[in-house]
């Protein structure tokens, strides 16, 4: 059971109160008539389907009935953040990768320091 933080209610609620509505941040083409078949088909049917970080639209169906966004990991199902409509995600696959890179760099720096102090010991 996922516990989802509704950014409008300001509370963690159970998954059953919500409905997933697919990929977030899809913009309808401003001039549909000007779209090629490929562009219109892409807008209607083609969605991100990542094994990893995914930004999704959800609705708090039996709560405040408002739409909001979730950044979620599609393998672990961990919810990394929820944010209101119109806002942009604070966590993306790119920021997460950069963070992990920085962490592993820090970890390797730390381990080399320990090794140095270890060597310095008599």
């Amino acid at each position: 059971m996922m516990h989802i933080f509704c950014p409008y209610c300001g509370e963690l609620r159970e998954e059953e109160e919500f409905h997933a509505k697919g990929q977030a941040h899809i913009e309808r083409p401003i001039e549909p008539e000007a779209c090629s078949d490929a562009e219109w088909g892409d807008y209607l049917f083609f969605r991100n389907n990542p094994r990893g970080i995914h930004h999704e639209l959800w609705i708090h169906a039996v709560g405040c009935r408002k739409y909001f966004n979730i950044t979620r990991h599609t393998v672990t199902y961990e919810i990394l953040e929820t944010y209101r409509m119109g806002e942009q995600p604070g966590i993306t696959a790119e920021t997460l990768a950069a963070e992990q890179l920085a962490q592993s760099a820090a970890a390797s720096a730390a381990s080399s320091t320990t090794q140095q102090t270890g060597d310095a010991r008599p």
């Binding site: 996922m2 697919g22 049917f45 083609f46 199902y77």
Partner: protein, 416 residues
């Protein structure tokens, strides 16, 4: 290949069953193949089998990251039917049904295909109108089907509550007597054994990590055991197809969702057919072992976790108890999830791709098991000739840009 027979069983009994031949080899991958199939599930193995058997191409590798038939082939609820609405999909599934009917003989492997019939229940007047329309369509397509009323359904399934006092009374059903169930593992193993005996290399525990292209054409695949060359590659990776397409450099209109199923403790025979209901949203059959095999809907969100959510399982069991109050105290044994690649029109994609020589067979969504032999058969044809099999033509991936969709949401109905 050592052929299986009753006589063979007796013969091997005399030597305490110690001299059975291995069912398939575990070869080292060669440097180059004529065709590589990515994905060693039912569909992939069937593709390899029919390529070798019907098209004489035997220099084939099936590359599987886990073990054979360990994905959705092992996770479905084994229902086989062909009563779809539209001509294109009905023809596709009926092609498969006809192969099912001779499959055990063809493979010399008992896939335990049991044509015990499939009921699709109607609970509202609109359900019944849709059922009538679909059964009429099926008859015009040359597919068996009947519309049953409440009493006929009750006669077929005495254990089901068909009384008028239920919340969703059973008003009738469509009935496809040729539908039924098959043993899912045996299907994978039978095709694997058949393909192996024709010279196909089944390479397990090897993950395809990328595709190598040259001037827009495929030249091979990168794997966890190094590069393997092939001018023609077929990808049959179900829930992972979207990820594979991305690696090949294009997008597919697929979303991967967890679909779960559960089985009960083994019971005495109580249900000798398959009962499906779109409206209360659940389906159930009884396996030869005696356990009730139950399933229903997908989780609404994209997921690769191979497990289902609790709300969905609760909903599933509610539906089954609504139909069969008698099952309310049956204990459930196991529950699992598979990852299904759903397409916007609930139909598969069997198609060439923007990369020359690279073909995809995916998007079977919640009901791919029934199509296993047919899907493999026409995908093999497609791979051998380099163009879509006539039955596969309507299922090209560019239909999502041309708008020529085949909307099977009605007949695909409840996820299974």
């Amino acid at each position: 290949m050592q052929r299986y027979s009753g006589f063979g069983l007796v013969k091997h009994a005399l030597s305490h069953h110690e001299h059975w031949q291995k069912v398939w080899r575990s070869p080292e991958p060669k440097k180059e193949y004529d065709v590589i199939i990515v994905g060693g599930g039912g569909h992939g193995l069937a593709t390899a089998y029919y390529l070798a058997k019907e098209h004489g191409i035997t220099n084939i590798a099936v590359i599987e990251k886990g073990w054979l038939g360990g994905g959705n082939t092992a996770r479905n609820t084994t229902i086989v039917r062909s009563n779809y609405l539209w001509d294109e999909s009905a023809a596709l599934y009926e092609h498969s049904m006809k192969l099912w009917e001779g499959l055990s003989q063809d493979l010399n492997y008992n896939v335990m295909f049991s044509q015990r019939g499939v009921l699709n229940l109607g609970h509202t007047l609109q359900d019944m109108r849709d059922i009538q329309r679909r059964v009429n369509a099926n008859r015009l397509q040359g597919i068996d089907g009947e519309v049953l009323d409440t009493q006929q359904v009750q006669d077929l399934v005495p254990a089901m509550d068909c009384s008028a006092s239920t919340r969703y009374p059973v008003l009738g059903a469509s009935w496809q007597p040729r539908g039924g169930v098959a043993r899912h593992d045996a299907v994978a193993w039978g095709f694997a054994r058949g393909a192996d005996s024709l010279g196909v290399d089944l390479i397990q525990q090897t993950e395809v990590t990328g595709f190598r292209k040259q001037d827009g054409a495929i030249v091979g695949v990168e794997t966890s055991r190094g590069f393997i060359g092939a001018k023609r590659v077929g990808v049959v990776t179900a829930g992972n197809s979207g990820v594979m397409a991305e690696k090949a450099g294009f997008r597919l209109p697929l979303e991967s969702h967890p679909l779960q199923a559960l089985v009960s403790e083994p019971l005495k025979p109580i249900l000798d057919t398959v009962v499906m209901s779109n409206h209360v949203h659940g389906y159930v059959s009884q396996s030869d072992k005696g356990d009730l095999v139950i399933g229903a809907g997908i989780d609404g969100y994209v997921g690769y976790g191979q497990r289902g959510s609790y709300p969905t399982i609760e909903h599933t069991v509610q539906a089954i108890i609504e139909l069969f109050p008698i099952f309310s105290r049956v204990r459930m044994n196991r529950q699992w999830g598979g990852i299904v690649d759903t397409c916007p029109d609930a139909c598969p994609i069997i198609s060439k791709t923007p990369v020359k020589g690279l073909f995809f067979n995916c998007g079977w969504g919640t009901g791919g098991f029934k199509a296993t032999p047919g899907s493999g058969n026409i995908f093999a044809w497609t791979l051998a000739k380099g163009r879509a099999h006539p039955l596969a033509e309507p299922f090209a991936y560019d239909r999502f840009n041309s708008g020529k969709l085949i909307d099977e949401h009605g007949a695909a109905g409840v996820a299974h």
